[in-house]
Amino acid sequence: MVEFDELRQLWQKQAQPDSALAPDGRAMSEVLRRFHRRQTVINCLRASLLLFMAIFVPIRNHMGPTAVAGVALLFVGMTIYLVEDWRNQIGIARLDFAKPSAGFVESSLLRLRDMRYPFRRTFWVLIVSMVCGMNLITWSAEHHSTVFKTALMHSNATAFPFLAYWLGVKIRAKRFDLECGPILEKLLAMRQAMEEHTV
């Protein structure tokens, strides 16, 4: 007959083998702070580069007001992209592990869905700003073009953001399935198992 109380005592007395990475709280907290600082620096650099390009390109190319308006709209679109991407980085690293498991499973499934389709909420703002921006720049660059050539250039300027978005979604979905597919499966199975017995 197995005495569970005896097993409990045995369990709590067990020694742990020496680890090559002996748990050191101070070293761990330093690593975590450094990582967070590095991510913040990278994201700030990206934002600074974007701002620099938005200011430098019009000045360097002596762009007229129409083209500058186009660049400004592109800047809005890229800023939306950067902000969503930044939130995404924080999001996956910060699944709400402190919730009871049942709530954790639910919120993680939602968060992972957001990761797979990160621009669901901002899609139209992003696309419209990019399309309008590219078309304004195209319009300002036209010099005595034929109607056909003008139509072709504007079609390209309109189609390009949609194409870029579609391609980006495809690549992201592939990467997501590879990296998060197993976790997603596990979470779905756990949700099903817990469904009837949660508080």
């Binding site: 067990q14 680890s19 990475l21 907290s29 498991s101 198992a193």
Partner: protein, 168 residues
Amino acid sequence: MTHAERERQFLEVFEKNKASIRRLCYGYLNSASEVDDLFQEIMTNVWHSLPSFRGEARISTWVYRIAVNTALVYRKKWKHGEELPELADDRCGAHQSLEDAERLRMLHAAIATLPDQDRLIVTLLLEGLSYKEIAEVTGITVNYVGVKISRIKDVLEQLIGEATHGRV
């Protein structure tokens, strides 16, 4: 929360809970080589979650929640169907008997046969958490915790009993 406060709280939580969390990692993974990985992931998540801790639960319950959830989504390096890695023999301290060492080994082997969530629940029970505390960690009802533990104990009893008779 300032950096200094966060670090101070993290170190306090780390020192108080590292032994029990490492035992939980052993119980869940049954592989000495991956315990460090899982332990680091758990402590990383504790670090990230500290600013949002508002004292709505006891700190130990809060840490166990993070540990359990991290373990549940942890991607093990070995796949289903592979042979389980050999257990380390030095799980008992030098002052404990060979019999205790053997019983502990059988306990670990029995726990390793359980599904993921059951492994974690039985490890929490072995750590001394009550049914109510386990329910707070997992978010399932106290009654269902009782039902699960009853089934888990039956399975463990059967497996350890078979292992014991096999050696006699």
